[in-house]
């Protein structure tokens, strides 16, 4: 059984979705929780069209049924988890009447979901950015974990909480410590022992001991003057961050901007120096996928002109700032540094991943890798901790002035800001952005399919073709951020989850206007 919440995997992770579809054809149940009738719904046993941003109310409602009808896995909860009484107290604040009212789905449907989940031997919960891209993103994730622990669906091959990573190496960039609070392998920068370990390994002293800034804080820093220099490697922030007008103003205020990329982008316009980098296929290395699988990436051709590998550029900068680094290839960096310093990756060496990759944790060179975590309910941290959470609405909700909810995401035929797919003939399949609206709203506003309309938020407005589709419920507009002209990020709200600083791309208020 699968519970897919906030994941349009047929479009965003097409190959993963094929395995899910195979399972459904073989008799697996699929519950899809999503405001839209997105493609996965075709295969669903049950589609639960909750209101945008009501995930926690829904999950708490489901848990309310599980607890009050005593359908949860009591043995797993008592032997593998802590904090159940606190969870129960919070869940009891979400009787079905309340959950139904917030989510917009019937009490009967919530009860049905709970009973189906309880009846299944195991259930794999999958989510994507529909869960995380909210001001309550962290709590959304906690809530999915609460549910899976309550059902005893952790530590099983076909269970767990499974986030599908949006980009090829988001997992890897995290693992490598491209985060302001951890060194490679999730070793905290505020921990003196970790700092001592990396000081010794890197031959330096006094590594910084406080957490650094997250991207939105960096952007704020450009405006406040706290951040003077900004080094942007392979990111098109000027299209991908919420509220493009604000982002561009912030970038223009930087004293010194360095961009390192394979193409000129909307962001490189703000650069003082641009470094040309080797692209995929022009360097050896590794990517780490959503399953924590480290796989090889191989070089087949030289970069164009005098473009160089990214690792070389960083090494050269270090040298010119007085630091000689030893490793002189991706393989040396991995085998001699990363896999020595990150405990979960110590068993992953290039020679072991010539063919299939290895899934971490892989602590030594005889270890076969780890397919799924928390085996037999033995959580990495000991006992599984319930984290009761309250539902909170999106920062901006529809009102009289801006009566539609705008939610955003990705489409199958393009990828992010099109720096890659826009140069690989994908425009043939998807040449422009559309604003997806419901037939009911189209009729009410007198808007025809393919008619040029204006979508406006408190941040800005775009002219875009209307795409009238049953996928979208009344009151919603759905757009992507692939095309500059009608990019959803002219409209999105630059508000962030307080803990993760993830932006609320999934909900803001807009108007839809006939031109």
């Amino acid at each position: 059984m699968f519970l897919c919440i906030g994941t349009n995997m047929i479009e965003a992770h097409p190959v993963a979705a094929t395995f899910l579809k195979n399972a459904v054809l073989n008799g697996a149940e699929l519950i899809v929780v999503d405001p839209r009738k997105q493609p996965l719904v075709t295969f669903a046993t049950l589609h639960v069209p909750i209101n945008v941003g009501s995930d926690i109310a829904f999950l708490n409602g489901v848990m309310h049924v599980l607890i009050t009808e005593e359908l949860y896995d009591k043995e797993f909860v008592s032997s593998c988890c802590v904090g159940f009484e606190e969870l129960k107290a919070k869940i009891l604040e979400y009787p079905l009447e309340r959950a139904g009212e917030i989510t917009g789905v019937s009490e009967g449907m919530i009860r049905d979901v709970a009973r189906r989940l309880a009846a299944a031997d195991s259930c794999m919960l999958c989510y994507t950015l529909g869960i995380t891209e909210h001001t309550c993103g962290k709590n959304n994730v906690m809530s999915t974990a609460n549910l899976q622990m309550l059902l005893g669906n952790m530590g099983k091959e076909c269970g767990g909480v499974n986030p599908l990573r949006g980009q090829n190496n988001v997992q890897g960039a995290c693992d490598m410590g491209a985060l302001p609070n951890v060194f490679p392998g999730y070793q905290a920068v505020i921990n003196p022992d970790c700092r001592a370990k990396f000081e010794k390994a890197w031959g330096v002293s006094n590594l910084p001991d406080k957490n650094g800034l997250m991207i939105p804080q960096m952007m704020e820093g450009l405006k406040s003057g706290a951040v003077k220099a900004f080094y942007i490697f392979g990111e098109n922030l000027a299209n991908s961050e919420p509220d493009i007008a604000k982002v561009e103003e912030e970038l223009s205020l930087a004293e010194f901007v360095v961009c390192q990329d394979i193409f000129p982008t909307e962001t490189t316009r703000f650069a003082d120096v641009i470094f040309p980098a080797a692209a995929w296929c022009e360097d050896d290395g590794t990517f780490t996928n959503s399953e924590r699988r480290v796989s090889r990436v191989r070089k087949v051709s030289e970069p164009p002109g005098i473009a160089r590998p990214n690792w070389w550029i960083f090494k050269e900068l270090a040298r010119r700032m007085g630091h000689e680094w030893q490793s002189d290839s991706s393989r040396e960096i991995w085998d001699n540094e990363i896999s020595v310093l990150a405990p979960n990756l110590m068993g992953v060496k290039y020679r072991r991943i010539e063919k299939d990759g290895l899934q971490w944790p892989c602590p030594d060179e005889d270890h076969p890798g780890t397919c799924f975590l928390h085996r037999e309910g033995k959580f990495t941290c000991g006992l599984g901790q319930f984290n009761p959470v309250d539902w909170t609405p999106p920062a901006e909700v529809a009102d009289e002035e801006y009566p539609f909810v705008l939610s955003t995401g990705r489409r199958l035929y393009q990828y992010h800001t099109r720096t890659q797919t826009g140069r690989a003939d994908m425009d043939f399949l998807l040449p422009e952005e559309t604003a997806d609206i419901s037939p009911a709203d189209a009729v009410r506003l007198g808007i025809e399919h393919d008619e040029l309309i204006r979508v406006r938020s408190r941040r800005g407005d775009v002219k875009v073709k209307a795409h009238v589709t049953e996928q979208v419920p009344p009151g919603m507009v759905w757009m992507a951020f692939h095309f500059r002209d009608a990019c959803a990020n002219w409209l999105t709200n630059p508000v962030f989850d307080p803990a993760t600083q993830t932006a609320e791309y999934k909900a803001c208020a807009v108007t839809v206007e006939k031109i």
Partner: protein, 353 residues
């Protein structure tokens, strides 16, 4: 699991209930030629290439779709089997435009391999007329129905493996055709251009358009790598020509995690790296535009500027964003630069957005 016995070319072999004759033969190291058989899908027995002789059976049987049974006596290589296979190959060769010289699949064609293996030097039947137009309107897939042998592998890959449900059989008799929707073009149908049909096509009926004239099969070297798009991390074979250019991409069969499957971006959106828009040299801002610079000049400028800013405002006045598409080793180097050289933890990437 209970084991049962049968006889294969005179040998006594064990099998498990539910296995087909083809499975048993494959496990025993005996090759039975197939055309339509697709591992992940239900066997159809459509192509009749895997026919074998079973003692007591009235006619030859298809090994892929006939279950092994206790005491069966099977001959995979008899004179009768050979004659039937040869006739079958001749009929298939006569069924369309199987002119290998100009076929993109030359060297990567199951029918060609079988014709060679069974020594077909002459086709005794007139070539059939093919009524269906070639489809070349999209940049990714060419559908040449004159080369189609109606084996149905593409239909199975689309419906049973990828579950995109875009293509099926259409028309009847000599007009039979694999159709998308109600015989539309791929573009106008529900096709999502995953190209799995191309990967499983055993002949030249479905070929990658981007690979045309980029090298013949035997000139291409296969290099395994990981897809640069979503977080699934599909394993790809890059088919690379002498110039180091990718001629086509296919999925690594049996490789984890994708087990031979790819989507539209993984299979067809690889050639952005060859775009003329690529940055080829360091650039330094000058006036409203940029001027070209050497690595020494650009790197020295950045190193000097970072050092100045660090001295004047402290290391936390510098912030960096790493790339979630580039390799692990690049992100490692960037955070190392920020932490150990610049002296700040202001390093992040887009995982949170």
């Amino acid at each position: 699991m209970s084991h049962t016995m049968l006889q294969l070319n005179g040998m006594h072999v064990k099998f498990e209930p539910g296995q087909s004759i083809l499975d048993v033969a494959t496990n025993s190291g005996i090759e039975i030629p197939t055309l339509c058989y697709l591992k992940e899908a239900a066997p159809t027995g459509a192509c009749r290439m895997c026919m074998v002789e079973v003692a007591g059976a009235r006619s030859l049987v298809a090994a892929c779709s006939t279950p092994a049974a206790e005491g069966m006596e099977i001959w995979t290589d008899s004179e009768r089997v050979h004659r039937a296979r040869k006739l079958n190959i001749e009929l298939l060769l006569a069924s369309g435009e199987h002119d290998c010289l100009v076929c993109e699949a030359n060297g990567n064609c199951r029918l060609q391999d079988l014709a060679y293996k069974y020594g077909i030097i002459q086709v005794r039947f007139p070539r059939s007329f093919h009524p269906h137009q070639k489809e070349e309107e999209n940049p990714f897939i060419i559908r040449d129905f004159s080369r189609c042998i109606l084996c149905g592998r593409c239909v199975q890959a689309c419906n049973e493996v990828m579950v995109n449900r875009a293509i099926s059989y259409g028309y009847r008799g000599s007009h039979s055709k694999i159709v998308a929707g109600t015989d539309q073009s791929y573009f106008d149908s529900d096709c999502v251009f995953c190209g799995q049909c191309v990967q499983v096509c055993p002949v030249g009926a479905l070929v990658e358009r981007k690979s045309r004239y980029r090298g013949r099969t035997w000139e291409l070297k296969k290099v395994r790598t990981t897809c640069p798009y979503c977080g699934v991390g599909c394993q790809l074979w890059l088919h690379v020509n002498d110039e180091g250019r990718i001629a086509k991409v296919t999925a690594v069969e049996d490789g984890a995690p994708n087990k031979g499957r790819l989507c539209v971006k993984g299979r067809f959106a690889y050639d952005f790296i060859y775009s003329e828009d690529r940055l080829t040299t360091p650039l330094i801002k000058e006036g409203e535009g940029f001027r070209e610079a050497s690595w020494d000049e650009a790197l020295d400028l950045v190193a000097t500027k970072f050092t100045e800013i660090k001295e004047k405002y402290g290391p936390d006045a510098i912030a960096g964003v790493s790339c979630a598409r580039s390799i692990n080793e690049d992100s490692y180097q960037m955070q190392k630069l920020f932490r150990s050289v610049i002296g700040t933890n202001n390093i992040d990437h887009c995982a949170r957005t």
